[in-house]
């Protein structure tokens, strides 16, 4: 079965802007889900609020589009009440790291059996491009008109520190690798976290000299660095550019799982 069969065809095209990377990540996630062989009746897609969180509305399966930041808490309830259901959570950087930060670390700590895909576009897209906890230092947004001054969250590192069983980061340029990472996440029991850097040409790129969608994809292509190479460079004491996106699989382990199949 092709991933296209998972879409609600009557809902397309999506509401996403021209060149938005969210659609790409949904494609990859649905490919991974169909590769794993899950049936529609056993998967529930959950999301919070934001651009990324519109994803479940386009998927022909049970889906819960919840309140801002709370997707993981809702998903925890679903999984614990019926462990036979498979949980896939779509979330964004603002949804997960800002308003939902507490639910995020606690879901990692509990190691609830679910797969969380965070579409990190480094901005609040739905509300028109405000700074988020992952907006890089110096980047312009409507609420950081003189450049972001705050530090950022490394979401993947955060999930590992909080106890997730699987963590990986890829970008919307690396569609095959992202699909494989999501598949590995789906197959790993416990909390699996996949961070997907996605382009937001409208909210982020437009203000940060990456106006066209292909500019942002080109940025992902040239600024991504495999984790192994990054670690090696660090060990050798070499300089790594600060805007490098370190990609790859970061952790895969077997901590005790909450909400596994009974």
């Amino acid at each position: 079965m092709n991933f296209m069969d998972w879409y609600r065809a009557d809902r397309l095209p999506t509401i996403f802007c021209v060149g938005c990377g969210n659609g790409t990540v949904i494609n990859c996630a649905l490919t991974a889900v169909s590769e794993v062989g899950w049936k529609r009746e056993e998967v529930v897609f959950v999301s919070g609020i934001g651009c990324s969180s519109r994803a479940p509305g386009y998927i022909d399966a049970d889906s819960l589009h919840t309140t801002h930041g709370r997707a993981l808490a809702f998903a925890t309830g679903i999984k614990l009440a019926n462990p036979d259901l498979q949980l896939v959570v779509f979330t964004g950087d603002g949804d997960l790291a800002a308003i939902g930060g507490n639910h995020f670390i606690h879901a990692c700590r509990r190691n609830v059996d679910m797969t969380v895909i965070c579409m990190n576009n480094q901005i609040y897209g739905m509300t028109g491009g405000q700074g988020s906890p992952t907006t890089p230092r110096g980047a312009l947004s409507t609420t950081t008109p003189y450049g972001a001054e705050e530090g950022t969250f490394d979401l993947t590192a955060l999930s590992i520190a909080a106890g997730a069983n699987f963590a990986a980061r890829w970008t919307s340029y690396h569609v095959k690798e992202l699909t494989n990472a999501i598949r590995a996440g789906l197959e790993t029991p416990g909390f699996s976290f996949i961070e997907a850097a996605v382009q937001c040409p409208t909210g982020y790129g437009r203000r940060n000299r990456l106006r066209e969608p292909e500019d942002m994809i080109e940025f992902f292509r040239t600024h991504s660095m495999l984790r192994q190479k990054y670690d090696r460079l660090l060990a050798e004491g070499k300089l790594v550019p600060p805007d490098t996106i370190v990609v790859g699989e970061f952790v895969r382990r077997d901590r005790p799982v909450l909400g596994g199949k009974k």
Partner: protein, 367 residues
């Protein structure tokens, strides 16, 4: 065989929930409701249910809503500050028509207030606390027996109307130990569940309530807090869709308020009528006993919301209503909207219950 027992209100509440088939509890410790969570933590695993202590009340209600969508009976218990945190997701539960039970053991507020003292300050919060127009059902127990029975009944109401149902108890009832009868079984209404997949999962039946479509049964239902049409798809800019949806969400509860109403009427020929709910009811009972005056009646609300606005039909000769409440007058204001004769509020703050003498003085003052 039913058995006589001497237990705390909070424990009776938890036992009532278990008897009604509640199999999921998501909660967060908060005085004075914690005993409910503790009892559920002990008992739920023994009946293959799930207890989870979430990271906060926002997470608790979220987990409960999630669990409810898998088709289990789910509840949470909290107090005022926790209820404030839950408000956004209560609105979500209303919008998505999720059946669940919220127990609020009220304490003195605002803010942290008096954690170990009773109050009835949340009676408007439960009804109007979340944003937008909506309607919910709220029950108010005055005895430990009612903590048990009303909790069980709350699940039936929640399933029937697909709304959050509140059990608005208070610290006095929650922490009071009293003799009660534990029945063998409680009435459990079957859930109206859709058997076949429908392309219109949110299309209401005659009574305004759509059949439930839990996850994992092949319904492929999209549940969203956005304004949605009968397919469940977001439709946020069409005024007609929003009006139709919100009107139905309110009407499905309000249009049945005469049928589901629950109250006790004592002495319908009375000229002076006490109106009470929750703990102050007990002071009224004592006052009526002490007064031995057949011109004094009692209208005791078991279901506060939806409010029975036909009070005047029940007490045609009433000259005044006296409303003792453990707040500065909330339900007395609601009553004022529906009656033409004076409503005398007898407020009480601080956590101590009204003295019967105080109520007797109020009757004398009203005459």
């Amino acid at each position: 065989m039913s058995k006589i027992s001497f237990i705390q209100g909070n424990i009776a509440c938890a036992e009532g929930a278990l008897a009604a088939g509640c199999r999921f509890f998501g909660g967060y410790p908060i005085t004075p409701s914690t005993e409910i969570a503790e009892h559920m933590a002990m008992k739920l695993p023994k009946v293959k249910g799930t207890f989870i202590q979430m990271e906060d009340e926002i997470g608790s209600i979220a987990a409960v809503i999630g669990a409810a969508w898998t088709g289990v009976r789910a509840m949470t218990a909290t107090s005022g500050p926790g209820l404030s945190l839950m408000m956004e997701n209560i609105g979500y539960a209303v919008m998505t028509e999720t059946p669940l039970v919220i127990v609020d053991i009220q304490r003195g507020g605002p803010s942290t207030g008096q954690p170990t003292m009773a109050s009835q300050g949340d009676m408007f919060q439960c009804r109007f606390g979340s944003h937008g127009d909506y309607s919910i059902i709220a029950l108010s127990p005055a005895t430990v027996q009612e903590m048990y029975e009303m909790t069980a009944e709350a699940f039936n109401l929640a399933d029937r109307f697909r709304v959050p149902v509140f059990l608005m108890a208070d610290e006095i009832i929650g922490h009071m130990r009293e003799k009660m009868t534990l029945p063998d079984t409680v009435p459990v209404m079957p859930v109206r569940e859709r058997t076949e997949r429908s392309t219109l999962p949110f299309k209401a039946e005659k009574d305004g309530v759509p059949g439930f479509t839990p996850f994992g049964k092949g319904h492929h239902v999209h549940v969203t807090g956005l304004t949605h049409d009968e397919r469940g798809y977001p439709s946020t800019t069409n005024p007609d869709v929003h009006e139709r949806l919100v009107t139905r969400l309110v009407a499905k509860v309000e249009s049945t308020r005469r049928e589901i109403a629950s109250y006790d009427v004592t002495n319908p020929e009375a000229e002076t009528v006490f109106v009470s709910y929750g703990a102050p009811t007990r002071a009224v009972w004592q006052a009526l006993h002490d007064l031995k005056d057949d011109t004094v009646g009692h209208f005791r609300l078991k279901m506060v919301w939806p409010f029975p606005d036909w009070v005047e039909e029940l007490f045609p000769q009433a000259q005044a209503y006296i409303v003792p409440e453990m707040n500065l007058g909330l339900i007395s204001r609601e009553l004022e909207r529906h009656v033409t004769i004076p409503v005398i509020s007898v407020p009480r703050l601080g956590g101590a219950l009204h003295e019967p003498e105080e109520l007797i003085r109020a009757v004398e003052g009203a005459k």
